[in-house]
């Protein structure tokens, strides 16, 4: 037992995992999950915990599964869209099951503060048939992470811990619990369990389905799923995670209606029934997609009961919730604040830093493409996505990690010309290598610009796996014609010469790669490059 600590939700998860005896933390940076990994990393040497960023979320998840195979505990950290990348490993790890405790800590981003969608990871847990825990505050984040590791070993399955931005990135005081030591090495012996040949996988999948009754029982009796009563039964509430906080805020801490609060999945069926039976209508207040609402409503609804929520427009379908939205949706009083005293308040969108190498790279690419009229630059996930904004207006796509290269290739297949892809060094290591390999083998007529600033800049200058000469060798190793690999240091002073290089490679009717290499100004300031 320690003193109270001031922790982000992310840090509470991290320290809980350390206190619960993890031997490894795995992950790829992604807002709002990054600080989980970083908080473990900060104590990893002292604690003897393996902590190295992986090339992508799939690699991270598989490494964690390997650690589980060897009998030791670990957590994997990623943002919600990272789970799409890790989904193959994740789905199949439910079929293999786990040995040492494995918890996937995934941070969703309702409202898309720093993401390209607001997908809800509870669907993944449901899809994979594994338990999911969902904290409402920092103390729960701590306690649930520890419970999740225990639960993972008790049921022999990976467990999902779902966070959302407003908990991941909110601080409060947390009372830590006692520490337990790391587990000894205990390598799994049965050759069948983790070898998902159809013959074995059928057995394992049946075992997974047979575990469901136990998982449901655990949810029904979980201390995180609580049905509370109230004097007024005209209405009842079904809420998840931090939506409970907003409901309590709206009612000033005392809700006069029955409330079923969900923090553990699979959905507790009996508890849901008990709620429905005692009220005339159920309002489902959920942070995320209408997951509980869809399960409750089914296709035909419940005769004689009104079910309100995101599907009928009682609450907004998109964006994150907040206490004001919840109060207003329920017809509760909302206070009026002050009005702006300055007529027009201009927006202040994020921008590339002063002196950023990406700015010079984009200006040169734009200049090089000028003779061709329309600019077609497929781009990717990172700081350089800010190249979308005026005055650069330099990119035309950002879909998922690595999509710049594959989409550019597809456009080139269709006959578009010239086609340029712009991708950062870390995104290239994450998911750019395989599409470039594919393109080189076809000698696709396009140019890939790798913006090598030597760091994972957007998420806070984490270590990148492929930069400098290592990156050059990777690109050449994929089979690129060495005559069409050009390395430049983008700079206004040499713009004319560099624009000419880029233009020559764009004109070349085959695959070419420009590596625009200059260190990130943030990383230089922090001394990490």
């Amino acid at each position: 037992m320690g003193d109270r600590e001031v922790w982000l939700g992310d840090e509470a998860v991290a320290m809980a995992a350390v206190h619960a005896g993890i031997s490894g933390v795995y992950g790829y940076p992604g807002t709002p999950s990054t600080e989980i990994f970083e908080a473990v990393e900060a104590v990893a040497l002292r604690e003897g915990i393996h902590a190295h960023w992986s090339a992508n979320e799939k690699v991270a998840y598989e490494e964690a599964l390997g650690m589980s195979f060897a009998g030791r505990r670990s957590i994997v950290t990623m943002k919600h869209v990272g789970l799409n990348v890790a989904a193959d490993a994740f789905m199949n790890s439910a079929v293999t099951g786990v040995h040492g405790g494995l918890v996937l800590t995934v941070a969703d981003d309702p409202g898309m503060h720093s993401s390209q969608n607001e997908q809800d990871s509870r669907y993944y847990a449901h899809f994979a048939l594994v338990p999911c825990l969902e904290p409402a505050d920092q103390q729960q984040a701590y306690e649930m992470t520890r419970e999740a590791l225990d639960l993972s070993e008790a049921v022999g399955l990976p467990v999902v811990l779902r966070l959302v931005t407003r908990l991941a990135h909110s601080r409060a005081s947390v009372l830590p619990g006692p520490r337990v030591p790391q587990k000894p090495l205990d390598v799994w012996r049965d050759p069948m369990t983790f070898t998902l040949l159809p013959q074995n996988a059928r057995i394992q999948y049946r075992r997974l389905t047979e575990k469901q009754a136990d998982l449901l029982h655990r949810s029904e009796t979980s201390r995180w799923n609580v049905l509370s009563d109230g004097p007024r039964h005209d209405r009842g509430f079904l809420v998840n995670g931090i939506a409970w906080n907003y409901l309590m805020e709206a009612f000033g801490g005392e809700c006069p209606h029955p409330v079923l609060r969900i923090g553990q999945y699979p959905v507790p069926v009996d508890l849901m029934r008990s709620l429905v039976e005692r009220v005339e209508e159920v309002v489902v207040v959920e942070e995320g997609y209408p997951f509980l609402e869809e399960r409750l409503r089914g296709i035909v609804g419940i005769p004689g009961k009104a079910i309100r929520g995101k599907l009928d427009g009682t609450l907004p379908r998109t964006g994150e919730l907040n206490p004001t939205i919840v109060a207003a949706s329920l017809g509760l009083p909302v206070a009026q604040g002050l009005r702006p005293t300055l007529g027009e308040v201009p927006g202040r969108p994020p921008t590339l830093c002063p002196g950023c190498s990406h700015t010079d790279s984009f200006l040169e690419v734009r200049e090089a493409m000028k003779p061709y009229g329309d600019l077609r630059v497929f781009s990717d996930i990172g700081c350089y996505t800010l190249g979308f904004y005026s005055p650069l207006n330099a990119i035309h796509s950002c879909v998922d990690m690595g999509a710049s290269i594959s989409m550019a290739a597809g456009a080139a297949h269709a006959g578009a010309r010239p086609v340029v892809a712009a991708i950062g060094d870390s995104t290239f290591a994450h998911s750019g290598i395989t599409p470039l390999l594919t393109a080189i083998r076809q000698n696709v007529d396009f140019t890939v610009v790798i913006l090598d600033n030597g760091t994972v800049a957007m998420t806070g200058t984490q270590k990148t796996l492929a930069t400098g000469e290592d990156l050059d060798r990777i690109v050449l190793g994929l089979g690129l014609d060495p005559d069409h690999l050009k390395v430049i240091e983008p700079h206004k002073m040499r713009a004319e010469e560099q624009v000419a290089i880029i233009r020559r490679e764009i004109e070349y009717p085959g695959t070419s790669v420009i590596i625009a290499r200059r260190a990130c100004v943030q990383a230089l300031r922090r001394g990490v490059v």
Binding site: N322, P323, P340, T341
Partner: protein, 255 residues
């Protein structure tokens, strides 16, 4: 008791350092707090904010409900306008005077400050001048914390252990310098608070104090300021554009 604060500024201005100091002060007082912040994309020079809620009872939401905020503490004067709908009618704005002009359509600086003086309760803080007076040019955020503190459930002494933790690696002089900047900020905040309580308009109080060298601002002499603001020279003094002068000189100009 509850104090709901919106911290605002521009990515890179260090509002999280302010949050760190205030969070720990709340913890050491045994108060409940929740502090939601923004990381990632928006930190790149964009508008950033953080909600900090402090109370003597459990806090439900990490986010401040609209119209219920008690304070906007902003390290940039234009950014205040973005969050006024969170502020209750009794709420106070504590704002730095220095604009951060990283957008092409930044309004005229005088208009930005004048708009803040239209608010019922506002403390304008020349954080750069206070930090310079303490010979800690980087301690502008400490000046802001100091100015906000008379409106918070804290004393300056609450911050000392955390200021020490933040700066002790860089030497005792830096610790003492930051504490001095906190004190000068507090003097400004406390003086404005007393004058506003007495019904002196926001515009007059702040226009006067911005003309006074920070090291001479003294909350124990708030009454003298109130009296001087009724003096024959006050209106002309407040309207002229000019540099800072010691408190005595400013009082003399008004009388």
């Amino acid at each position: 008791m509850k104090t709901d604060i919106i911290l605002s500024g521009v990515g890179g201005q260090g509002i999280l350092t302010i949050a760190f100091v205030l969070d720990n002060a709340a913890l050491s007082r045994g108060l409940h707090f929740k502090q939601a912040e923004v990381h990632g994309m928006s930190q790149r020079g964009g508008a950033v904010y953080s909600y900090l809620r402090i109370a003597d009872r459990p806090i439900w939401s990490d986010l401040v409900p609209e119209g219920q905020g008690d304070m906007i503490l902003s390290v940039e004067p234009l950014e205040v306008q973005r969050y006024l709908h969170y502020l209750s009618r009794e709420g106070v704005v504590i704002s730095n005077t220095a604009p951060h002009k990283n957008i092409p359509d930044y309004p005229e600086e005088a208009a930005v400050l004048s708009a803040l003086l239209d608010l019922p309760r506002c403390v304008l803080v020349d954080a750069a001048a206070i930090a310079a007076a303490g010979r800690q040019p980087k301690a502008q955020n400490m000046a802001m914390v100091g100015a906000a503190t008379p409106f918070l459930p804290f004393d300056l002494a609450d911050y000392e252990p955390f200021v020490r933790r933040l700066f002790e690696a860089k030497g005792e002089a830096l610790v003492q310098g930051n504490l001095a900047v906190l004190r000068m900020g507090w003097n400004v905040g406390r003086t404005v608070q007393q004058l506003l309580t007495q019904g002196v308009p926001t515009r007059q109080v702040n226009s006067f104090l911005l003309r006074v060298t920070p090291e001479t601002v003294d909350p124990d002499r708030a009454n003298e300021v109130a009296v001087a603001l009724h003096g024959p020279g006050a209106e002309a003094f407040l309207q002229e554009a000019g540099g800072k002068m010691p408190l005595d000189a400013a009082l003399a100009r008004c009388r």
